[in-house]
Amino acid sequence: MALINYRKAINDALAEEIMRDENVFIIGEEVAEYNGAYKVTEGLWKRFGDKRLVDAPISEAGFIGLGVGASMLGLRPVIELMFWSFAFVAYDQIVNNAGCVRYMSGGLINCPIVIRGPANGGTNVGATHSHTPENILANVPGVKVVAPATAYDAKGLMKSAIRDNDPVFVMENTLLYGEQWEVPEEEYLIPLGSADVKREGTDISLIAHGRSVLIALAAADILAAEHNINAEVVDLRSIRPLDEDAIVQSVRKTHRAVLVDENKPFCGVSAQIASMLQEKAFDDLDAPIGRVNTLDAPAIYSPPVEKLQLPNAQRVVSKALTVCA
């Protein structure tokens, strides 16, 4: 299988869906002639032209609202946010219009949009550009949120997101764009709402989404090599809908859980998982659930210190050792 980076995997997904469905178009800042601020849409404008790749002015509320309106008439806009942090200026369009229009119309109107872009810290761009709003958005019934950790998952989830008839928000990661994974050449889809066990284990479940999955995998290696602990790593892939069965099944096997999550701790995705586990797997747990989140303050700029603020393998190992003690 060919090694393809996360950025190219998304690029391929977009190209394939543009070719498959004439109603799919890409809109956002610098997505066309500039080839994408993070080069995710590189080459697509040259291939598909102005109609399918649309450079928007810096007006997130305007072009996201435009996408919602266009989707009501059957188009399938894939809207790029240069950073998910910029979603806040378009929050009314995302939550009130994309999130509520089907419900408020009694099911008469659908909103098949995708909004995608990076949502991560770790690039020393300060607090305003480092938000991870998957927990905030997943709080809105009516929308769906996915967070792929690998190139393989990014491509398969993106294609499913574009074909879905509800609004789907894809949380990417600038630190992953250049990372490579094996991606098959033949077409495949990864359904929303299905988690993936990235590493089988017996002693503790490390449950994560997005780049935190890779941190959990690194921690699992250390736990095996240095502490004789065999950790299982569960990648949520999809936040809403959520594959609760996969999470509970893993914890029933290992009886211990550490949740790794780049969200801030308060009402982060891991808080939802912890609440669910205490309700559904209470008797299976041999120890309290541990959580490793981004340290609870706005993202610090200082490059070496920001590394410490984010979840990292060492913090996961420490937490796992506490839970396994």
């Binding site: 609202g65 435009l66 266009a70 009501m72 009314d92 419900y103 408020m104 119309s105 109107i109 594959d243």
Partner: protein, 357 residues
């Protein structure tokens, strides 16, 4: 405000010259229907039969009826929360609208939207939106989709005068002009954004629509009490959208007789009783249109009165329909959230969508 009812130029405009007597009478009927529907709804609201807000359109009926009368197969309509008039003007039934106000399952939105959220996509009517100016980029998007699909059409996007100061409206104007989108923004200027008068809320030189100049968008500002005037002026914008795929901003002067909503406790404090009375007496769009039709010999006093009685009867019947209709069930709370769940697709059946237990 000067009355333009006697202005001969608008009546002589081609779009009005060709109107049949039936069409002219239909405009009067539609305006009576909006007014009677809302008067009856107000009575029911005050009797505690519905919840939430009730933003009445009474006084502004000519704007919805006049502008919507110009639309064809590929022309679309979207508005804000003062949406009953537009809903009836596009052809929605009083029954489905009244039932929605009563929160019933037979309502146009199955009791899930309420007064501010009427929808009828089959009649090219896309709501009914509660957040001020939140619909302005949606209207842009509807028109964008028409252009994308190569259809000759436009979208009328209505808004109040208070909405012109929201940022997203300006983002929408910029994009509409930049990309030649056939959207027509209609500012229904009733002179008050809730309790704040135009002078106290908006900075402008001559008119609000003149702001479009900065975006290189054609604009117009005119009186909304006369249907001929509205149709003549709006048709120019519709032609511009159809023939040149260019946007327009129209500001139509009008007036609401009631408060911002029925819950507006200060409805008679931020404006004088004389001001309201002057509009009712001298600028009422129903009276003016009825007078025009009588003078033209299209209708007589008795027939006009019968139209009014019919409208009142229809509204009373709609109340009966609403009262006899069932409420949605508790299970209905979870329907119409996700397409994929409702339709039991593979995507809808995988993973947990609702987190109640």
């Amino acid at each position: 405000m000067q009355s333009v009812a006697d202005s001969p130029t608008s009546a002589a405009a081609e779009i009005n010259r060709n109107l049949t007597a039936e069409q002219k009478i239909a405009f009067l009927r539609d305006m009576f229907r909006i007014r009677r529907f809302e008067q009856v709804a107000l009575k029911c609201y005050n009797q505690g039969k519905m919840g939430g807000f009730l933003h009445l359109y009474i006084g502004q009926e000519s704007v919805a009826v006049g502008t919507i009368s110009l639309l064809g197969e590929n022309d679309h309509v979207i508005t804000a929360y003062r949406d009953h008039g537009h809903a009836l003007a596009v052809g929605m039934s009083m029954n489905e609208c009244m039932a929605e106000l009563f929160g019933k399952a037979t309502g146009c939105s199955k009791g899930k939207g309420g007064s501010m959220h009427f929808f009828a996509p089959d009649k090219n009517y896309w709501g009914g939106h509660g957040i001020v100016a939140g619909q302005t980029p949606l209207g842009l998007g509807l028109a964008y989709a028409l252009k994308y699909k190569g259809l000759r059409g436009c979208c009328l996007c209505y808004m109040g005068d208070g909405a012109v100061n929201q940022g997203v409206f300006h983002e929408s104007l910029n994009i509409a002009s930049l990309w030649d989108i056939p959207v027509i923004y209609i500012i229904e200027n009733n002179q008050y954004s809730m309790g704040t008068s135009l002078e106290r809320s908006s900075a402008f030189k001559n008119s609000l629509s003149e702001r479009a100049e900065g975006y290189n968008i054609a604009w117009d500002s005119f009186n909304g009490e006369d249907i001929y005037e509205i149709r003549a002026k709006t048709q120019i914008a519709v032609d511009r959208a159809h023939n040149e795929s260019r946007p327009s901003v129209l500001e139509i002067a009008t007036y609401r007789y009631y408060g911002h909503s029925v819950a507006d406790a200060n409805a008679k404090k931020y404006r004088s009783a004389q001001e309201i009375e002057d509009y009712k007496t001298n600028h009422d769009p129903l009276r003016i249109w009825q007078k025009t039709l009588i003078e033209e010999g299209v209708i007589d006093e008795a027939t006009a009165h019968q139209l009014d009685l019919d409208a009142k009867h229809e509204a009373d019947e709609a109340v009966k329909f609403a009262e006899e209709s069932p409420f949605p069930t508790e299970a209905d709370i979870f329907k119409d959230v996700y397409y994929e769940v409702d339709n039991e697709t593979g995507s809808g059946k995988r993973g947990k969508h609702f987190f109640n237990d």
